[in-house]
Homo-oligomer: 352 residues x 2
């Protein structure tokens, strides 16, 4: 399998299932794990890394969840290919950019993966559509148990799982949700929400771009504390926080819609008009239009396509995906033309 | 007949005939005439004006061209109704705003009309689609001959036709063309063109709004000199100047299209996407989008509708027209919603 073949793959986390009226795109649980037989990240040698890859693959592929999984070794890939894996959320930008012996193992619907030799020897990840935090946790926990039966983890009775960076110490668990909050951005409430979350030890990041108006009104919320908390408590807390934010968001959307019905509908329909007709679309343009269209889906203003379609549109129109679809290298301005063409095709296909 | 009934009327000058690839919307020839039996405009009394109306109507309605014409007396109309006549180019803003005994007589396809007691006792007007300057001149000349057989005009062998303002003295003829020049505006050549025209004694006005980027990229070009020139020479000169400008415009459009094909197509298709999907459209928005769409028609990029459709869209979405279609008074923000609704309906009807 070539990396480019993944471009049209229907990753499970993009299906829009359980997405609570379009607001929660996905939920991710990841565990940081290290093996006992090799030094940790800053001290590790290429030989150590090779052995880690070998042992992790052996353990994972002989288990229940990764027996049919695909493996890519990073330094065997082109930059474009690594970038495509980043765009699909299968690897971190850090893994894509780093040198050394690093790898990725993932299952066919891309819901389970292991980054090998990132900051830690292993980053086990489960990613599911919507607010399925319990399911994502159960899934990555099962994978961890599976791999852990044949690998000896670096573990301390006092500290729990040992990690390259102390911020991951203990459970090694980081859970995050990817949420769409156009209402809170439009009502200028996002700073207040961020402030509250930070005070409760949750991190909020604009998903694309930084600042108070990040691209596509997408935010990633994740736990900060990994030490001295039970895994289930981390999950429960993130879920309850997320549900609260969804409530705020729905309230903001409904208020906007009540106060300025025509303007909100105009925003949504203009987005549809542009997505299905534009001949040049920058990724910034696209993200803004997709956000407006998704708002229209949440408010029941439009229904040409569903949120799963919109999710895939967002992922599959990123530069390395476009390159993979096109087959050869595209100049940035050609990319904007090809992106617009692809988006029109997608909308047209759905309309048929 | 009520003024509002005119709103959906298919005025002949809007058909898009002979419009030279969308560039020349219409051509207008008007003659300033005064009768000998009443004082001129600043000195005229209401009684004089009443007599002028009476005599003009008698002369015109007993002739060949205005026997079935409609007559409106201005002070019998609501402001909205007078405004609708301005929007249809049947009367001047001056006639709409002025008090006193004033009137309008016009034929069923709105190609021939007489404003009574505007600046002059009579303003005879012929308006036709495209660059039909000879035809417009022939038409208004015939009407003038017809009316002039039973009315004694104020005429001097030395000066020709006498008018209230010396700028109309002599022939009393003003000819104008309404042209769409998006190419020259986009290439920043409009100031140069204007300068050249002014030097040749032609006036250029932004048709809606002023400044170098007038609404809709529409310009009206007209002769300044009326004295000491033959009528046919005025017509010939305006036509040859207009043909020259069309050449410049076509060159500008083709250069733009060659240099930035995707961007030009994007502009046109986005305009189509917005016109057929927006839920709120200001008249400024509409004029800009209609201009982009018309450019697309000229360049053969789109063909959902023809220029006649686009001309009517531009006229029939003006405030007083919207009011007439809606039936009751609209607030400005309701107007933008209703305008968008109307435009969508028009595009949808054509697509069927």
């Amino acid at each position: 399998m070539k990396v480019g073949d993944l471009a049209p793959n229907r990753a499970r986390w993009l299906t829009g299932d359980s997405d609570l009226n379009g607001t929660v795109i996905s939920c991710r649980a990841r565990l940081a794990r290290n093996v006992g037989f090799a030094p940790f990240s800053p001290m590790v040698t290429a030989d150590d890394q090779d052995r880690v890859i070998e042992e992790v693959l052996k353990a994972a592929q002989s288990g229940r969840y990764m027996c049919d999984a695909t493996f890519f070794k990073m330094n065997a890939l082109q930059e474009e290919e690594r970038q495509l894996l980043v765009e699909r959320h299968l690897i971190s930008p850090a893994l894509a950019e780093s040198t050394g012996q690093r790898g990725l193992l993932f299952n066919s619907d891309e819901s389970l993966s292991i980054m090998i030799n990132e900051e830690d020897h292993m980053r086990l990840q489960a990613i599911l559509p919507g607010l399925q935090a319990d399911e994502a946790w159960a899934s990555v926990n099962a994978l961890d148990g599976d791999v852990g039966t044949s690998l000896e983890y670096a573990y301390s009775d006092k500290w729990g799982f040992l990690t390259a960076c102390p911020t991951n110490l203990g459970t090694g668990l980081r859970v995050s949700v990817l949420v769409h909050l156009p209402g809170l951005v439009l009502t200028d409430d996002m700073d207040r929400v961020k402030h509250g979350l930070t005070k409760m030890s949750f991190a909020v990041r604009g998903f694309y771009g930084e600042g108070s108006h990040p691209l596509g009104n997408l935010f990633q919320i994740s736990n900060q504390a990994t030490l001295g908390v039970k895994e289930q408590d981390i999950i429960n807390r993130l879920c309850s926080i997320t549900r609260q934010i969804i409530e705020y968001e729905e309230y903001a959307q409904q208020s906007l819609y009540k106060e300025a019905k025509a303007q909100v509908e105009d925003k949504v329909w203009r987005a549809f008009g542009l997505l299905s007709n534009a001949r040049v679309l920058s990724s910034k343009d696209l993200m803004a239009l997709v956000s407006a269209y998704r708002l229209g889906l949440s408010l029941g203003i439009v229904d040409h396509v569903d949120t799963g379609f919109v999710n895939r549109l967002m992922i599959e129109t990123q530069p390395s995906h476009l390159q993979a679809f096109y087959g050869e290298e595209l100049e940035p301005n050609e990319r904007d033309v090809f992106r617009a063409e692809l988006v029109r095709k997608y909308f047209k296909k759905t309309a048929e």
